[in-house]
């Protein structure tokens, strides 16, 4: 949360324990309405003392502290005074009672005379300690606590502070980043325990107004303990520390069966080899001899034209990691990720590597009522990162230096279950019986993709080499392994971060300057990243604190080279990267084999080599980016007159990124492109007798249309936004009875995003930055050796620019009037405008509400001692939706050839507002019972349309505060429950409300400048939490159950009826999320310098898709992973595995329980899977763990500390990899266990090698036998640190010194038998290198 900006809902809660020996007095703090006149009139006959005291407090504006039990014991009193001063009123009230009072400043304390130790004396100094916590019970760090005579101290990471030797009557200022100032006497703080304070001068009742607007606030914020985490990245700090938060890898693989085209005038797979031969003979008999025909058929089979029938297309998408809270929250890609906000600035993506050294606090917001303000993207929770603001007050310098290092991830064949050279060669030898390769005796002419071993086999078969020659070369091959060469190219992973923080200031001016320098590289070749960051916070107090100006600038420059991750699975294991002399070894499996290339070169002399080398490619490719990121925020708060405040918040962001992509001339990519445009205007296809191969021969001399040289392409993206919010508020109490708060505000927002790419420059010269001119032909009939007729337009076609402007504007007004603290009237009005066209036409969304309230408990006739608070409110309001056209997402493209602009609509989103007016009627009950031990709020809203009935509310029962509660070892016990029901219209209103100034000045940290044109989901959330502390809070437990459902139209996720003209349609759907979270913290041992804390955090999540469209059977991975009603998102379905048949084919059970061999019909090409249906598949489990959590142990001894964290995820499954077992080779080591002969089916479930059959592969890879449990426990982290004792540093410049050592990814225990790390696996089961053991070293120096 942006501390400086926000005081929206932050409330300071101070809990303090005095060293005076008073102990934990349960007191009720009554806060005053700020006022100076204090004439008091009282008239009570027989009233409880507390009631009288409340009245005095109300009329005088003084705080009154008293021991609740003490006051309750007193008999009713009678008082009759008029226009008395405070002292007189107090004397009268306490007349005849065994109580005394003391007035200190504006605080009255009531004591038994014998215990009022410090009440009157100045003789004794006290020490006060306390914890500053916010409204959610979370500690606030960096809060300044000061008094006139003492230097300020600041609360630490746990919100704690200590002020020593203070006069009990000295006034203590508690200031939170300049916004919230609370002034109390030291004594009163020493008496306070868990007392709710509001900001500055706001009446407590304001919280209720906030509550109404928020439709039920929930304690939905989790603040992370980030002490001793400075050397980590944000993703590491989040892992395992927040109940229900899971870091998920977004790497998915989808496979689709595609029927291949046939090379021979026959449909794919309809004919047997024999039929193919006959057809070849009929067509080519005149040209080919017997051997030629055979070879031609073989070549067709090999190219997938034959019995294979189908091939599969696999798509891998990698979106890095994302944090996901409480399971998935909605449908659609990228919909599950949480929103990340750094210092109030919304981030486009999850900054996983953000250094914690720069982070002051890390919070996770889960309460939907709160997250909605951040816009639709925040629906799945918000992570709020606040960067170091330093601790203003005095000049301080902190230096943090961290280093992290790990060895290269193990990418060996063994670790990734890849086949060795021997296994591959053995496989190919057997496979060759089935698939003679293309080339048909003339592999030297083949235009194809055969590997060295396949060509060797072919040459042997064709008699081009002797058996002895073959054997010797085969043996040579089998001794090769590129594993070492690949490993040589890997580097360790390294990152270092230097952070210098300078802060200081005085009464009028505080600043914090934070410089950050970060460099890192991954194991990828050439990868490097550098970031320079500068954060500035400046706070100025002028005109006797009446004018407060805050400026915040977060800026960074980054420079990086993407680098290339070399994947050993790309090549055959015997394919070396370089020779002993360092020269590259080429792989010729991309387009033409080496012999064919040599052959082709005779007619195309300038042809570039078709050999590929991943190392050369990586070294010759350079993708770099340079960018800057500037986020600024200016806050002005000016108390113009008494009660009149003008507030302005101006945010400006500017982002720019320039990408450069350079491919050197010697890369395969550049060479191939050159070859494609090395072309002729006339060509002849020459036929080589007996080979079945045709080689193009140019009839005209080839011309190089593309210069031979580097290729360079630049791209740019920029985005900048300005957001201005300004407003005045007026707070005043007239005649002690009339309290008035008025606010008026205005805001405007604009944003422009733009991205573009330049045309590639060919023949690029990096010195001049220029490319060579292309010599484009004046003919449209140019023929390449590979492409056929060449289309030159891709070389010169303009690349469209993306440009997206956004603007909106809003006004707002609010009125809050309270009479005598009893009767209230609140009203607000918000209106937002957004443009809907290029004309000056805009639509507006309007929301107003008015509410009247009556605090019954403040009336004199109210005499129900059990009920401490009873407030009734009723109100009405209206939301007038914008009148918007149906949302037709479109793409506008300038067509330079035509001089026109075209516009194509590619979606239809009917969920739009159409000027509806939704009236709402509210009734609100606010109840406090048993001295507010039980508090509840209930809000019922009736809407005229849409979600008709909404019930929101919360109830809290602080059992341990109750009178009857007398269990000494239970220090705290509290039950809380809340229900929030946020309709889409209300969510819109909520987003709009962020533009209005808050009472007392300032603005919400959230900025609701979102497209008000799309309706948010309807969210219902129910939550119950139980919090308790035992043995003086040595054991604290926070447990909660939640049940959330979000529903609405989800767009673009369901296939449409094509005749509608749209590919996708919107459907109403719902997502239910239920779960349980537990956070248990135990101070197992404390004392004698030694501490042992234990934390258990655990979460169970059950998420279910509801009302989703039933997926239609289709043998694709998409179908097997589709959302289904009643099942969690990310669930897997599988065919029911039935082992191999006696021919080595996979079998699955059909719905009747019969075993069906999956092999496509040789004459129809149809596989049993083609005609299967949904009853053939079964549920295999979910891929996200329902159970997750961590066990954390913390030890401290004197300055030493240690921390170990064990993370677990249980109850989920993963799909493990099964080899393809068809043409080409599979690089999985499982090929070793393949079925080889009848009888093997008893031992293995890896099918035997056959012709191409994608359906068979699909069944083998997606049956129940590939499912394995993914449960794991991971010893995530071990940390050792040492705080150098202050006494050792005395007299030095260094004020504090800390050293920490850190180990990450220490150990792993899994339940699967294969030893697979469930977090290093792709969705098709292929293994990724595991995260290696990582060492971290961090140094903190305070100067």
């Amino acid at each position: 949360m942006n501390n400086f900006l926000s005081n929206d809902s932050i409330k300071l809660r101070l809990s303090a324990r005095s060293h005076l020996g008073i102990g934990l007095l349960l007191v009720l703090l009554l806060l005053s309405v700020a006022t100076f006149a204090q004439k008091i009139t009282l008239n009570y006959q027989h009233a409880p003392l507390e009631q009288v005291l409340r009245e005095i407090r109300k009329q005088s504006g003084y705080d009154i502290f008293f021991d609740q039990n003490l006051v309750n014991q007193q008999p009713p009193v009678a008082v009759k005074i008029s226009n008395a001063n405070v002292e007189e009123a107090m004397s009268s009230a306490l007349k005849g009672l065994q109580l005394s009072f003391a007035i200190n400043g504006r605080t009255i304390s009531i004591k038994k005379p014998d215990k009022a130790v410090a009440a009157t004396g100045k003789q004794q100094k006290i020490t006060i300690t306390g914890t500053v916590i916010d409204d959610n019970g979370l500690p606030l760090a960096g809060v300044s606590v000061s008094s006139a005579t003492l230097k300020p101290v600041y609360t630490d990471g746990e919100g704690k502070f200590t002020l020593k030797d203070i006069d009990p009557l000295a006034v203590v200022h508690i200031a939170y980043t300049g916004k919230i100032t609370v002034e109390r006497t030291a004594l009163s703080i020493s008496l306070m325990a868990e007392t709710l304070l509001e900001t500055g001068s706001i009446d407590l009742d304001q919280t209720i107004i906030q509550g109404q607007r928020m439709a039920g606030k929930a304690p939905g914020t989790f603040k992370l303990d980030i002490s001793h985490r400075k050397q980590q990245s944000v993703v590491q700090a989040l892992e395992g520390t927040v109940p229900g938060l899971v870091i998920k890898s977004q790497r998915t693989t989808t496979t689709q069966l595609i029927y291949t085209s046939d090379g021979f005038g026959v449909p794919a797979g309809r004919y047997t080899r024999e039929q193919l031969y006959n057809a070849a003979k009929a067509a080519l008999g005149a040209y080919l001899d017997e051997a030629g025909l055979q070879n031609y058929v073989n070549s067709l089979i090999n190219q997938g034209y034959s019995n294979g029938k189908t091939t599969s297309i696999t798509t891998i998408t990698n979106n890095g990691v994302i944090p996901e809270l409480r399971g998935a929250g909605g449908f659609g890609a990228g919909n599950n990720a949480m929103l990340i906000v750094i210092d109030g600035f919304i981030q486009d993506s999850f900054p996983a590597d953000y250094p914690m050294a720069n982070v002051l606090s890390l919070e996770v917001i889960r309460d939907p009522a709160e997250t909605i303000k951040w816009g639709p993207r925040a629906g799945n929770g918000v992570i709020i990162i606040t960067t170091n603001g330093g601790q203003p007050g005095k000049l301080q310098m902190n230096y943090t230096s961290t280093f992290n290092f790990s060895g290269a991830p193990d990418n060996s064949a063994k670790a990734l279950q890849r086949a060795s050279t021997t296994q591959i060669l053995d496989y190919e030898m057997e496979a060759y019986k089935f698939f003679p390769i293309a080339g048909a005796g003339r592999p030297d002419l083949v235009y194809g993709t055969s590997s060295v071993s396949q060509i060797l086999l072919e040459k042997r078969r064709a008699g081009l080499i002797t058996e002895a020659e073959f054997q010797s070369r085969w043996n040579l091959l089998s001794q090769l392994s590129n594993e070492d060469q690949y490993r040589e190219q890997q580097r360790g992973i390294f990152s270092q971060n230097q952070n210098l923080n300078l802060s200081g200031g005085n009464k009028y001016h505080r600043f914090s300057l934070n410089g950050n320098y970060n460099t890192s590289h991954t194991e990828a070749l050439e990868n490097s990243n550098r970031i320079w960051g500068l954060n500035l916070r400046e706070q100025v107090s002028l005109l006797k604190n009446k004018l407060q100006i805050g400026l915040q600038v977060n800026s960074s420059l980054n420079k990086g080279i993407a680098g290339t991750m070399l994947d050993p699975a790309e090549l055959q294991p015997y394919q070396m990267l370089y020779k002993a002399d360092g020269s590259y070894v080429y792989d010729y499996t991309k387009l033409f084999n080496q012999d064919a290339y040599t052959n082709l070169k005779t007619s195309y002399p300038g042809l570039q080599n078709y050999g590929y080398n991943p190392l050369e490619e990586a070294r010759g490719t350079r993708m770099s980016n340079k960018g800057h990121d500037l986020n600024t925020s200016l806050n002005v708060n000016w108390k113009l007159l008494d009660g009149l405040t003008w507030s302005t918040n101006l945010q400006y962001t500017d982002k720019k990124n320039n990408g450069e992509n350079l491919r050197q001339a010697n890369t395969y990519a550049a060479r191939e492109l050159y070859n494609n445009y090395y072309a002729v205007s006339s060509i002849k296809e020459a036929y080589f007798p007996g080979s079945g191969i045709f080689v193009p021969t140019p009839l005209t001399p080839p011309v190089a249309y593309l210069p031979l040289g580097d290729i360079f392409q630049a791209s740019q993206s920029t985005s900048n936004s300005t957001n201005l919010r300004t407003g005045i508020t007026y707070n005043k109490v007239f005649n002690q009875k009339h309290a008035l708060n008025v606010g008026l505000g205005f805001s405007a927002f604009k944003q422009l995003s733009r991205s573009s790419s330049d045309l590639p420059l060919y023949g690029y010269n990096s010195n001049t930055g220029l490319g060579t001119n292309l010599s484009l032909p004046n003919s449209n009939q140019i023929l390449s050796n590979v492409l056929g007729a060449i289309n030159f337009s891709p070389l010169i076609a303009p690349i469209p620019i993306n440009r997206k402007p956004e603007r909106n504007m809003s006004t707002n007004a609010s009125l809050d009037y309270t009479y005598d603290g009893r009767l209230g009237l609140q009203a607000f009005y918000n209106e937002s405008y957004m443009p809907i066209s290029s004309a000056d036409v805009y639509s507006s969304t309007r929301n107003y509400n008015a509410m009247a309230s009556w605090a019954l408990h403040k009336e004199s006739f109210f005499k129900f001692p059990l009920i401490s608070k009873l407030k009734l409110s009723a109100g009405f309001g209206e939301i007038k939706m914008a009148s918007l056209p149906v949302n037709l997402p479109a793409v506008r493209v300038f067509q330079p050839n035509w001089g026109t602009t075209s516009l194509v609509v590619n979606g239809y989103n009917p969920i739009r507002q159409n000027g509806e007016r939704i009236r709402n009627y509210d009734a609100l009950l606010d109840l406090g019972m048993f001295k507010d031990v039980l508090q509840g709020q209930l809000n019922y809203r009736y809407n005229s349309m849409g979600v008709k009935n909404q019930v929101s509310g919360r109830i809290s029962y602080h059992i341990s505060k109750a009178n009857y509660f007398n269990v000494p070892w239970v220090s705290n016990l509290m039950i809380e429950g809340f229900v929030s029901n946020i309709s889409p219209a209300q969510a819109l209103a909520q987003m709009m409300s962020t533009n209005s100034p808050l009472t007392g000045g300032g603005f919400s940290a959230a900025t609701g400048n979102f497209d008000l044109g799309s309706l948010p989901e309807h969210i219902k959330n129910r939550e119950i939490s139980l919090r308790f502390g035992l043995w003086k809070d040595r054991l604290t437990v926070d447990s909660r159950y939640y049940n959330r459902s979000s529903s609405g139209m989800s767009n673009g996720t369901f296939q449409s009826d094509l005749s509608t003209g749209f590919a996708q349609r919107s459907l109403y759907s719902r997502m239910d999320n239920k779960g349980f979270e537990l956070y248990l913290q135990g101070k197992i041992f404390q004392g004698d310098g030694f501490t042992w804390n234990s934390i258990i955090n655990a979460a169970y999540n059950l998420n279910q898709a509801k009302d989703v469209l039933k997926p239609i059977y289709d043998p694709t991975t998409n179908y097997l992973m589709a959302n289904r009603n009643g099942y969690a998102l990310g669930s897997l379905w599988s065919f029911r595995w039935a082992g191999l048949d006696n021919k080595g084919n996979p079998q699955v059970f059909d719905p009747n329980g019969n075993k069906v061999s999956i092999l496509s019909n040789q004459s129809t090409g149809i596989s049993p899977l083609t005609n299967a249906n949904e009853n053939w598949i079964e549920y295999s489990g979910r891929t996200t763990a329902p159970w997750s959590g961590a066990l954390i142990q913390e030890f401290g001894y004197k300055g030493f500390y240690a921390r170990a964290s064990l993370r677990f995820a249980l109850g989920h499954v993963m799909r493990t990899y099964r080899p393809i077992m068809q043409a080409g080779s599979d690089k999985s080591s499982l090929i070793e266990n393949r079925w080889r002969q009848p009888g093997d089916e008893a031992k293995t479930d890896i099918p035997g090698i056959i012709f191409l059959d994608a359906a068979r592969t699909f069944a083998a890879q997606n049956s129940s036998n590939s499912i394995a449990p993914a449960d794991f426990f991971r010893l995530n982290e071990i940390q050792l640190g040492y705080d150098v004792p202050a006494k050792w540093l005395t007299g030095k410049y260094v004020k504090s010194l800390n050293l920490a050592l850190n180990l990450q990814n220490v150990a792993l225990w899994t339940r699967n038998k294969l030893g697979i790390d469930p977090e290093a696996i792709m969705s098709n089961g292929k293994l990724l290198p595991r995260q290696p053991l990582r060492y971290g070293l961090a140094l903190f120096v305070g100067l």
């Binding site: 794919a268 956004e806 006004t811 066209s837 035509w898 194509v904 005749s1059």
Partner: protein
């Protein structure tokens, strides 16, 4: 509120962003909807597949599915492949529906305001084109007796991604086509051709050409003749093919890109198929009706592969490189339509004269160039239909649609026999249900109201 009132003029200015350059807008203005008619894609729907089931095409040596399945009339030629024709036609229909329905209430933008009527007329012409293609692909040929009950295609005139419609009758679809075209023609703002030689946007010439087509396929020859004549009154120029060189040489000057169509003085309605699959093999039946030496339409269109000896559509040189194909309606088609109507109206001389005018620009001068005019009306009709087949080969489905309508006439009905590439022959009897394209499984699942076209095992 006072502040608000004062701020309003400034607000308007602030909110007046240049949406015109927003690359991802929601269309709301006249200008936006007008731009929807500029998309080249409207003119680039691929109808290659419609060649496959005709007697123009032999089974190719390297076919791609579903081409092969259609070429030899399989019961289920689609298998699991998507139907791009269905989806693409309806995609453009939806865009046109948006223009037609939203334009009247679209927000005005400056000088664009007076283009509402023009844009609506042009959208209706485009919509009529796509419905004509759809009803002829997925429905049986128009027969007055049964058109009211024969199933056509879903007739969608509104915009929604949510609502599915059942198949309308062939009659309903044709009536909509006529209504749209007549509406367009009745629009005074519609010029003969769109200004700036922008062939993407149709004019009156296009509407008349389509109207002539529609009437011809409905068998309403009087109206067809009238419309064709009206179209020819607007434009009647013909390109001379006589200087065209043979393929494989540097530049053959054919007008097959959309930009070239702009300069093509024959074009009434511009349509091309982009990136067409060139693996198309001329049937011997088609080759046999050409003068293989003199007819430039043939000599400039094919190459003989030295790989398998087959006659491929020009563009295939040992590769899968795509070429463009002209799918539009031009002056020649109007002349042929008019000639057919004249022949059917017992004016053989008028008909043959039109043919000879056309042939003079297509065939190098030779003794057989001019067709005899002293023929009967029936003979003239045969000549017209043969010339039609030559001139309109591969033109976006005309041969398929012609086969379907001519099969209804006992004089012209024809069984088609094709080698299946494996030494066997398959025959498609005249009037077979396999002429009608089936819907894909995906289409049927997505729209439960869609009734499948029956096909038979041949």
């Amino acid at each position: 509120m006072l502040m608000l009132a004062l701020a309003l003029p400034a607000c308007k200015k602030f909110l007046d962003i240049n949406r015109a350059s927003d690359t991802n807008p929601t269309p709301v203005t006249v200008d936006d909807f007008d731009q929807m008619l500029n998309t080249t894609g409207i003119c680039e729907t691929s109808f290659e597949l419609l060649r496959a089931p005709t007697d123009d095409a032999d089974v190719p040596k390297t076919p791609v599915e579903p081409y092969y399945g259609f070429a030899i009339w399989f019961v289920d030629p689609w298998q699991t492949r998507p139907d791009d024709i269905y989806g693409t036609c309806y995609k453009w229909i939806a865009q046109m529906n948006m223009v037609i329905n939203s334009m009247p209430t679209a927000l005005p933008t400056g000088q664009m305001n007076d283009r509402r009527a023009l844009a609506i007329a042009q959208a209706k012409i485009n919509r009529a084109y796509f419905y004509f293609q759809l009803v002829n692909i997925y429905g049986p040929a128009y027969q007055p007796a049964s058109a009211g009950t024969d199933l056509g295609v879903p007739l969608i005139l509104q915009v929604s991604s949510q609502v599915s419609y059942p198949r309308a009758s062939v009659e309903q679809v044709y009536q909509q086509i006529l209504t749209d075209l007549k509406d367009a023609l009745a629009t005074p703002e519609l010029p003969d051709f769109h200004p700036d030689k922008n062939v993407i946007r149709p004019g009156k010439a296009a509407a008349l050409a389509l109207l002539a087509r529609a009437y011809l396929y409905m068998g309403n020859y009087t109206q067809a003749e009238k419309a064709a004549s009206a179209a020819l009154a607007i434009r009647s120029s013909l390109l001379s093919y006589l200087n065209y060189k043979v393929p494989n040489s540097t530049n053959d000057g054919r007008m097959v890109t959309l930009l070239q169509q702009q300069l093509n003085s024959e074009v009434l309605l511009a349509r091309i198929s982009q990136a067409a699959d060139p693996r198309f093999v001329f049937s011997s039946d088609l080759v046999s009706i050409f003068d293989k030496t003199n007819d430039r339409r043939y000599t400039s269109s094919y190459i003989v592969s030295n790989r398998d000896g087959a006659i491929y559509l020009f563009g295939r040189v040992g590769s899968v490189a795509p070429i463009n194909q002209d799918n539009g309606i031009g002056v020649p088609e109007m002349m042929l339509t008019k000639a057919e109507c004249l022949a059917r109206a017992n004016d053989p001389v008028g008909a043959v004269n039109l043919l000879n005018t056309l042939r003079a620009t297509r065939i190098v001068s030779n003794p057989n160039l001019n067709l005899p005019t002293n023929v009967t009306a029936d003979q003239a009709l045969v000549m017209v239909l043969q010339e039609r087949r030559r001139e309109l080969m591969f033109k976006g489905g005309t041969r398929l649609f012609d086969l379907k309508r001519l099969n209804l006439d006992s004089r012209f009905k024809k069984d088609i026999r094709k080698a299946n590439g494996l030494g066997n022959f398959v025959t498609l009897p005249a009037g077979s249900p396999n002429y009608v394209f089936p819907f894909t499984r995906a289409s049927l699942i997505a729209n439960p109201l869609l009734v499948q076209n029956p096909r038979v095992q041949l």
